[in-house]
Amino acid sequence: MVEKIRSPAELEKLRSEIIARRDPKKRIITACASTGCSALGARKVIESLKEEVKKRGLVGQVGVKEDEVEVKETGCLGFCELGPRVIVYPEEVPYFRVKPEDTPEIVSETVVKGKIVERLLYADPTTGEKARKLEDIPFYKHQLRLLLKNNALIDPKKVEDYIALGGYGALSKVLFQMAPEQVIEEIKKSNLRGRGGGGFPTGRKWETTRNAPGEPKYVLVNCDEGDPGAFMDRALMEGNPHSVLEGLMIGSYAMGANEGFIYVREEYPLTVENITTAIKQAEDCGLLGGNIMGSGFNFRVNVHRGAGAFVSGESSALMAAIEGEVGEPRPKYIHMAVKGLWEKPSCLNNVETWANVPLIILNGAGWFRDMGTKNSSGTKIFSLVGKVNNTGLVEVLMGITLRDLIFKIGGGIRGGKRFKAVQTGGPSGGFIPEKYLDLHIDFDELTKVGSMMGSGGVIVMDEDTCIVDVTRYYVDFLSKESCGKCVPCREGLRQILNIFKRICSGLGEEGDFENLEDLSELLKEASLCALGTTATNPVVTSLTHFRGEYEAHIREKRCPAKVCRALVAYYIQPEKCQACMKCSRSCPVDAIIGDKDTIHVIDQEKCIRCGACYEECQFNAIEKISPPTPPPPRRGIKVIRKKKRE
């Protein structure tokens, strides 16, 4: 791509040329190269695929000629725990858990002969049925993947892939056929609401920015994604960076800005790499920079890396960081859209919000508004994680029930355990108990039950999760991530954490209930920023819906889910022990007494309750119980071995 595009016609011409060069019947092997699959060894699989294809003479020595087999690195499709993921086109056969050793067979059978390697297909855990296409998998079947589906087909490091799928067509339409005010009207009509957490009407924010006095104006992308458990922005930016860039430019044109910033968290190095490459390639094509597509519109964008602070995702903190100061929130009563970066009108939106914009422009505001619920239009990408069978990124229409999300798509609770609660919205969200499972997910419904949409994290918990422990985890997280400037948040979280530490150690007091409630209210009313005002949502919702667990911890010194270490003991049932010594070997403090012929006994004085022995035992002989433990059996009892199976 040497020539810069200087008109919509040239863009279309380029698009047709790229498509014409591509044989729809050509064999393409796509493999996910994103962070998730890389953690499971995808890079070796990709190298191995490339080697296999070369070995068989299916590609030339230098580069890939258009009539040969191509190995393409693509983005994240969200079902990360089954990675590395390989899909062979044009049949669209999806293979999961691919190892380097599997690649010769994939190439020789599927690529050369068009035959399917059954063992690498997804098999339904209950029926055993194999899925020949992605859509046959229950996890994918119920999704509506408007934003994520192109991750399967795009190499994020090749702008041609994005163009081939219609990319930059929306920008072209906006620059040459629409006035800025028209664009804003369209976004307002679509009812798009911010996908970063606040759910603020995007069109209104754009309008405020446009009308605010002051030049220059700025547009910003929030890819800080600090909520632990959320990774949808990573998948979008890593897998399809151009979709975000296109949306950003459309917004910039609408608001009258010519400069943008993309704030990416430091923990996503591959995302930084991919967006940087995308920017360079777009610039080389004339799709970014000066006189974009010959329209006279200029836009340049800078990537700014975060440095490991959850609070820096807050809008005023993010802008402070870009200004070169420490990323702390500032006490402000004027919207960032009016006075933001360097006191100029600045529009900050989340990655997913920007990615929706080109779709709205191409398909129309009505199309978008008609999807979802009355007040929350479109789709939302959720990060469904925790104790569900199918974890990963799920893109669904707003309005799906929690029950469908968790049981139809998520496949229900792992190990057949009982559902206990689902937590949405990250550390700022609340626990939602079983009785609300039929609520239709949208911004307002979640707020009504005391939680919030947040960035889309959905953490499922089962009977083995201790709600008090998880609440303590969130308070601990927030106390360290808080900037620490204001008293209610810093000192409030400090003291709330002190209370939780006592409760989880069996030192809870009756007065703790009132103290937690008082402090929660203080943070909500008097904190400087949204981190503080939402910090106690987990505390409040857990006290409301799971008060029984707190009462057990405080009044009975008992942890019902048997998680809190100080309130749990491990006990080896003498009649089940087979004296295999696996547990004693795994014990980090040598607290298990017994040899290969005698029943093992745990010395409760030494035991640190780490649970390693519980994990190791193959005979289900070790029980987790609430103290007091039964008196220890006599030492040195000889084991009665169960007969070996035939």
Partner: protein, 211 residues
């Protein structure tokens, strides 16, 4: 020409100059709102939240800090209602654990305020850092003296104020003007009495507490 505006504080109609904050408008008319991190010489910080007041605007109620929120035409401010007083009492309950136990000789501004709001002792666990992180010292050194010798370090519950002995002595003017701004008894000369090395000294090699 600065416009004059009128607003209501606790039912009383008062006049203020445009550009003033609620706190400034109140102070000018002798209406008392408690503060800790506020100082006339320094930019408003909005961190202690003691000056929180409830405003009523276009029928909606909201809690804001009066040291930052601008005085607006027609604004209704409730600076002493029960909700606001409860917030102040709780904040004081959170500040007391940071201070050494009450003594007859020391009655700083925080202890005085606590007494005024009826907070005799705190329900919460003592921390005894003797620092409320109000930032007077840091902000004064940066904004007024422009010496930038002391700084905030860390974040969250591990946030502290530090005089880094390996670097700060080259910048500290040893004016000790920061000492008198401190609401607690924290700021004193170090035992060694070495120029510029005060009680905030935290060497680089010493880890930030808890990290």
């Amino acid at each position: 020409m600065v416009r004059e505006i009128s607003l209501k504080i606790d039912g009383k109609e008062i006049k203020a100059r445009e550009g003033m904050t609620i706190l400034q408008a109140a102070k000018a008319k002798g209406i008392e709102i408690p503060t800790l991190c506020y100082d006339e010489q320094l930019k408003p910080y909005g961190a202690c939240r003691l000056c929180t007041v409830e405003i009523v605007k276009e029928g909606r109620r909201r809690m804001v800090v009066s040291c930052v929120y601008p005085a607006e035409e027609g604004l209704e401010v409730e600076a002493n209602n029960e909700k606001v007083r409860k917030i102040r009492r709780l904040i004081l309950e959170l500040l007391l654990p940071l201070l050494p136990p009450p003594s007859d000789t020391v009655t700083g501004p925080i202890e005085t305020l606590a007494e005024k709001y009826g907070v005799k002792k705190s329900r919460f666990k003592a921390e005894l850092t003797n620092c409320t992180l109000c930032g007077h010292c840091v902000r004064y050194c940066t904004e007024v003296k422009k010496a930038n010798a002391i700084c905030f370090i860390g974040r969250g519950t591990e946030r502290q104020i530090a005089f880094v002995p390996e670097l700060a002595p080259n910048h500290c003017l040893a004016c000790r003007e920061c000492f008198s701004l401190c609401p607690t008894s924290k700021m004193v000369d170090s035992v060694e009495g070495i120029r510029g090395v005060c009680s905030l000294s935290i060497p680089i090699s010493e880890k930030i507490k808890g990290k």
